[in-house]
């Protein structure tokens, strides 16, 4: 069984958020949770094409990271993309419409769950190839550096991605060139169905060593504590944007679900998920901390659930693309303006 409750729960001083802001983040995490539960339900009912990966249990990571970013900062997401996309500011209606393959979707129905984009919000896209987005985050950071823009580029990825060549080449390049990039490892101890001990030669709590090997500043973060994530990301952002180079964040978190929706999880001990939900739920941890009463919570939950239900209605009433729209975006037309 994956050891739980090993992460030391300490919070950087500078990070403290006011109660009002924390309540906003609690609400956002609840939106993510209810949204993912809803898409899971709709998928199991046969409403949604394709396949799905949810990040239930990891909400505090996406929320804390994106809350600490400026609107002009950019992210690259993964196949487990709903939380990142919501946290970077895309309306759930646009995401749900994408799940349904509608033209109102955030990728106009061309992407689906694994290719959610919202470039105006700084979301450069979810990537269905593990590690695929990392080199491009180094490239975005290079562009910011060359243009002297005070922006950072942030890559989300899981522990499985740290075994890819793309990860190592990107870390090396970012450090070599002192790029304003932040590498956010969502370390949930699973590469799809393969546990950490079968795919990582290091204990999960020592993954920072991979960053240290490149001379990169790194930090260990409790991914179940949104305020800790926020504080760490503020520090990482400051470090990167001030020209001191990239930062690696080993964010320890837990995946409460299977790799994909419908995954029977034969590889996982039965009691593990139950225990995680009991002890490591980022929403419950924050609810207790905020002293939120059950009445308060239920009122908020009803409001959020209604928003999520409304997103399903929005999506179902969306426009189906025309079949021939398939060819619309293969190439950009014309030639770029000369300087």
């Amino acid at each position: 069984m994956t050891p739980v409750a090993q992460v030391e729960r300490k919070r950087p001083e500078a990070s403290s958020l006011g109660e009002e802001r924390l309540r906003e983040l609690f609400r956002e995490m609840l939106v993510i949770r209810r949204f993912e539960e809803k898409v899971e339900e709709q998928f199991r009912a046969g409403e949604l094409p394709g396949f799905l990966h949810v990040a239930i249990g990891q909400e505090a990571v996406a929320t804390g990271v994106c809350a600490a970013l400026e609107p002009t900062d950019v992210i690259a997401s993964t196949h487990r993309a709903h939380a990142h996309t919501i946290a970077k500011g895309t309306h759930i209606n646009a995401i749900m419409a994408e799940m349904y393959g509608k033209s109102e979707g955030c990728s106009q129905g061309f992407g689906g769950s694994m290719h959610l984009y919202d470039v105006a919000k700084g979301n450069l896209g979810a990537n269905a190839v593990v590690g695929g987005g990392l080199p491009q985050i180094a490239g975005a950071a290079l562009a910011f550096k060359l243009k002297h823009e005070p922006r950072v580029a942030v890559a989300f990825f899981g522990d499985g991605a740290t075994n890819t060549g793309a990860f190592h080449e990107s870390m090396n390049l970012a450090q070599l060139w002192t790029l304003p990039a932040v590498f956010v490892l969502e370390n949930n101890g699973w590469a799809e169905s393969t546990p950490a001990q079968q795919q990582l030669p290091l204990p999960v709590e020592e993954m920072e060593k991979r960053a240290l090997a490149y001379g990169m500043t790194s930090m260990e973060v409790d991914g179940q504590d949104v305020e800790a994530v926020y504080g760490a990301m503020r520090g990482a952002r400051e470090h990167a944007v001030s020209g001191q180079g990239p930062v690696f964040m080993n964010v320890r978190t837990y995946r409460f679900t299977g790799h994909y929706v419908g995954d029977p999880q034969v590889y996982r001990e039965k009691g593990e998920v139950h225990q995680l939900r009991e002890t490591q739920d980022p929403l419950e941890l924050l609810r207790v901390r905020l002293g939120m009463t059950s009445e308060e919570f239920e009122r908020l939950d009803a409001e959020v659930s209604a928003e999520v239900d409304a997103s399903v209605e929005f999506a179902k009433n969306g426009t189906d693309p025309k079949p021939e729209d398939a060819l619309k975006w293969v190439y950009a037309e014309g030639s770029l303006e000369r300087a």
Partner: protein
């Protein structure tokens, strides 16, 4: 008209773009102090400095991936993959990422990235430094594929590639770097997707790319002595392809030979043959002949290398086979 080598034409185009446009920068292995393994970027570090002439680690995934990321943020990167054999290492970024971002995002993203690379046999590099892989990329929607065969075409096509809003793979042939040719005083962009008729003829059309353009011109001169009039067409851009020029030529000559240095099976000649049979079916007097390398990894020993790759004599033999058929 000034005369430039093929190598100088690449350098001239990159330098002109970088002089006038801050968005353009180059990166790749050994391109700075050393000036690239083929000497193409010699002197550019001194003119443009290390921020814009960037030596990279030996990291083909990151070179292409960082180019994609910078391109999406409004830069116009020209990245160099030292040998096209090494494109295989960056295939994921090229095929799954660069080519697909625009469609996957529903049109939110443009990737104006140029990937320069080179390859080609004739100097005993062995099996991992001379492949001709251009046809792989023609199979991927979202990519454009250019293969220039003369200094003039290098300038016009590379310029258009840099300013194309899509990812372009720009192939250069190693043995062509020293060849000289006249180029226009002012750089004249050549639209991607326009073929060049190098030589007019009436009996056979040879559609050739890269080094084989020159081999085909030599074969055509020889054929003329044998009383056969050969037209030589270089598509220059493999994707998009100038189908009209190719089909019009074959309708006129009624016979067609394709010629490239890449191996024959699945090579670009197969695509050309399909385009020609469909577009000029009623005009053809002979099956389309395909000239290319024999189907083997390139061996080291010069005698074996020479045996594997095609030459003017192979093109000439194919021309004779097509005219041997009764009209």
């Amino acid at each position: 008209m000034p005369e430039l080598t093929y190598r100088e034409a690449v350098r001239d185009t990159l330098s002109r773009a970088m002089r006038t446009d801050d968005r353009v920068f180059i990166m790749g292995e050994d391109i700075a102090e050393m000036g690239g393994s083929m000497g193409v970027t010699q002197g550019m570090l001194a003119e443009f400095g290390p921020e814009r002439v960037r030596n990279t680690p030996i990291s083909e995934i990151a070179i292409v991936g960082a180019g994609i990321g910078a391109a999406i943020q409004g830069m116009l990167p020209v990245v160099e993959i030292m040998y096209e054999d090494f494109l295989t290492i960056s295939m994921e970024q090229i095929v799954n990422q660069a080519a697909k971002h625009r469609t996957m995002s529903g049109g939110q993203v443009k990737v104006p990235l140029t990937i320069r690379t080179q390859g080609g046999a004739g100097w005993s590099p062995g099996a991992q430094h001379a492949q001709q892989l251009e046809s792989w990329f023609v199979h991927v929607p979202g990519l454009k594929v250019v293969f220039a065969s003369t200094p003039e075409d290098v300038r016009g096509l590379l310029w258009s590639s840099i300013y194309d809003p899509n990812p372009v793979i720009f192939f250069e042939h190693r043995t062509l770097y020293p060849i000289k040719g006249d180029v226009p005083e002012e750089l004249e962009p050549i639209p991607l997707g326009s073929a060049r008729v190098h030589r007019q003829g009436t009996d056979v059309t040879v559609i050739a790319t890269g080094r084989l353009v020159h081999e085909s011109l030599a074969a055509a001169a020889q054929a003329e002595e044998d009383g056969i009039s050969v037209e030589v067409v270089d598509p220059r851009t493999l994707s998009p392809l100038d189908v009209d020029t190719i089909v019009a030529s074959v309708k006129k000559t009624t016979r067609c030979v394709t010629a490239h240095e890449a191996v024959v099976p699945g090579g670009f000649g197969a695509e050309l043959a399909a385009v020609v049979q469909y577009g000029a079916f009623d005009y053809l007097d002979a099956p389309v002949e395909r000239v290319g390398a024999r189907f083997a990894p390139l061996p080291f020993a010069p005698v074996m290398e020479n045996y594997v790759v095609p030459h003017a004599a192979d093109v000439l033999a194919a021309i004779h086979r097509t005219v041997a058929r009764a009209a």
